[in-house]
């Protein structure tokens, strides 16, 4: 299935849980924020989400800035 992550289409296995995807990406949950289909998703809600066709994910973090 196709999922858009940070503006790029990706091919993921059917039924991939969001938390597994984030773990696979090696992301530290304490320093990222996730927007799932344009809704901010608090960390406690990651566990219940199973990614599906055409989902849109934004995964962001703070960087140096002025």
């Amino acid at each position: 299935m196709r999922v858009t992550v940070n503006g790029q289409e990706q091919e993921l296995a059917e039924g991939t849980p969001l938390s597994s995807y984030l773990e696979f990406r090696g992301l530290d949950p304490s320093v990222i924020v996730v927007e799932y289909n344009f809704q901010i998703l608090p960390e406690q809600d990651w566990e219940g989400i199973i990614l599906k066709e055409n989902d849109n994910l934004e995964i962001l973090r703070f960087v140096g800035g002025g």
């Binding site: 990222i32 973090r61 703070f62």
Partner: protein, 260 residues
């Protein structure tokens, strides 16, 4: 003497805010922070780069520092609001520097969109510090919209050109009943010092420190300049004169003719 910078319900002992952009490596940040004495620092929100290392700016920012995320990248109020909400969801507080920019050459902020974003975000409980051109009418609308401070520019972002907007900044400082934080364009400590002498509440410096040959030393120089400028403002500088006024007494000269 207690001279605190008060923003929203928080008080700060120092009046230099620093940015964290343009450093070759985020590992420099703790030393810059320490030598600047800054208690408020800005960061930006960006998509995770899956190709890059797992380092993160947050690993280099000590506890207890007030984080001021910016909405850089926002081109209108709606985008700024989205970025602000995401930044708050990061769990590092509810402060936000609104930056709405659609002009890529001079990076000048859009006052109208900034006011709209401020209204929305202040209504949602954010502590809002908007980055603006030093426009009195925009600043007044921001006061009404619930801003906690205003951040007028001295010169275009990253230009190191100093207080090119001096006369307009003076008007904002005189008329706006909120802390005025001069942001953008301050390339040298003397410029930050002058802004503080004029009565600015604080200065925000990023490029002026980051682009110096020795950023840690420059951060300290900015801190000293900001503190000196603040003290000078509180001390009340004397009036300037067009002609000389002797500092030594004008009587009792050695060769003075004695009157008989």
């Amino acid at each position: 003497m207690q001279d605190k910078l008060k923003i929203a319900d928080q008080e700060f002992s120092t009046r230099l805010l620093i940015g964290t952009g343009k450093y070759a490596c985020d590992e420099f940040i703790p030393d810059i922070l320490a030598s600047s004495g800054a208690e408020i620092i800005t960061v930006a929100l960006r998509r995770v780069d899956f190709e890059a290392t797992v380092d993160n700016v947050m690993y280099h920012i000590p506890e207890g520092v007030q984080l001021l995320p910016n909405t850089s990248g926002a081109r209108n109020a709606q985008e700024a609001v989205r970025i602000a909400r995401l930044a708050r969801a990061m769990g590092c507080g509810n402060w936000i520097k609104i930056e709405v920019i659609s002009d890529n050459k001079y990076l000048l902020p859009d006052g109208y969109e900034t006011v709209k974003a401020t209204e929305t975000l202040a209504g949602e409980g954010f502590v809002v510090l908007p980055y603006i051109s030093p426009d009195l009418m925009v600043a007044r609308k921001l006061v009404e919209a619930g801003a906690a401070a205003v951040m007028p520019l001295g010169a275009p972002i990253g230009s190191n050109r100093g207080l090119k907007t001096r006369e307009l900044l003076k008007i904002i400082i005189e008329e706006i009943p909120l802390p005025v934080i001069v942001d953008a364009g301050l390339g040298r400590p003397s410029q930050a010092c002058e802004a503080m002498e004029m009565g600015a509440g604080a200065c925000l410096v990023n490029t002026g420190i980051a682009s110096a040959a020795h950023p840690v030393a420059m951060a300290r120089a900015f801190a000293q300049a900001v503190a000196a400028g603040r003290q000078a403002f509180l001390a009340g500088p004397g009036a300037s004169q067009g002609t000389a006024r002797a500092s030594s007494p004008l009587t009792g000269f050695l060769y003075e003719e004695q009157s008989v």
